[in-house]
């Protein structure tokens, strides 16, 4: 009887994959360990939902993006997009060969501004540069 060929299991390694081989969004979304690959999701931050609209003058809310899934980034934690964008880029800059560019490193960041009253009824306009991921490496 002919024995069916055994499928060779991929060899388990602990190395970080070379960044160019990170799974993209159109690849098989389950990486070899059955983990869901990191994907970008949109979150609409609504001041109205939080009931803060009586002190936030503008905007009513804004779109933010966040990642969910397993990032191969050694921190291995799921962060919101803004943190992800800033922190990951910094660590990659500091240790380029130890820390690869993560799959959803931002390719375009934009500023966001919020106008609100403070506790003394002064009006405050705060602008945060490079705070919102507009486009990232997931796709």
């Amino acid at each position: 009887a002919v024995r069916p060929l055994k499928r060779r299991q991929p060899k388990q390694t602990n190395e970080l994959p070379h960044p160019n081989k990170l799974p993209g969004i159109f690849d098989d979304i389950h990486s070899s360990h059955g983990r869901q690959v990191c994907r970008r999701h949109e979150l609409y931050v609504s001041f109205r939902d939080l009931g803060w609209l009586d002190w936030v003058i503008a905007p009513q809310g804004y779109s933010a993006y966040y990642c969910e899934g397993e990032c191969t980034f050694p921190l291995d934690s799921c962060m919101n997009a803004t943190n992800h964008a800033i922190l990951q880029s910094l660590v990659h800059l500091m240790k380029p060969d130890a820390v690869p560019k993560a799959c959803c490193a931002p390719t375009k960041l934009s500023a966001t501004s919020v106008l609100y009253y403070d506790s003394s009824n002064n009006v405050i306009l705060r602008k945060h540069r490079n705070m919102v991921v507009k486009a990232c490496g997931c796709h």
Partner: protein, 243 residues
Amino acid sequence: SSSGSRPQHSCPQRRLGARERRDMQREILAVLGLPGRPRLRALPAAARLPASAPLFMLDLYHAMAGDDDEDAGSPGRRLGRADLVMSFVNMVERDHALGHHEPHWKEFRFDLTQIPAGEAVTAAEFRIYKVPSTQIFNTTLHISVFEVVQEHSNRESDLFFLDLQTLRAGDEGWLVLDVTAASDRWLLSRNKDLGLRIHVETLDGHSVAPGLAGLLGRQAPRSRQPFMVTFFRASASTIRAPR
């Protein structure tokens, strides 16, 4: 866009649970520098909105939101590279005008304790609305603003000259006076109110009561009350530790 209109979904969206969403939003808003929801003094929102400072700041907000990518050119000279703009409504207004001997002046006090530490002032201006004078006609007026550096019980206060504008008695509109030079001092003594004093003189040096020259104070309609606006450049970027 961050102006609130929702972009089309460009990737599949997983619905967060209510608690997750609230945590996520709270975390992002904390990164935005909105750590907590202030307890506002019970002013109804509608009553607040027509006031001059929020209207002015709303224009600034739209200008700032418009220059999303950094080198679209600065939408306004003052806005420049400011990260934080604060407007202050004056708390106290003193008139040394009608019935007093010369010089006549009007003084405004501002509570600056809310200014966050570590901010560098890039510009500051005092805005006051002027209507055509009903008492003085066809006259050129010098309007100067001083900082009240030190008050004395037995003599005139120490003043520091800040800016001077020349206009006609019949002019109307917002007068913008540059008070940036006072910012060094007020950042050093946060717990002291900032005092600004307005003097009005004719070309031959006669002192005119600011109210008679058409300068409006706290009795003005809400949309024309005087206020101060300060532009800051944040020095440290806020990076939050990962959860």
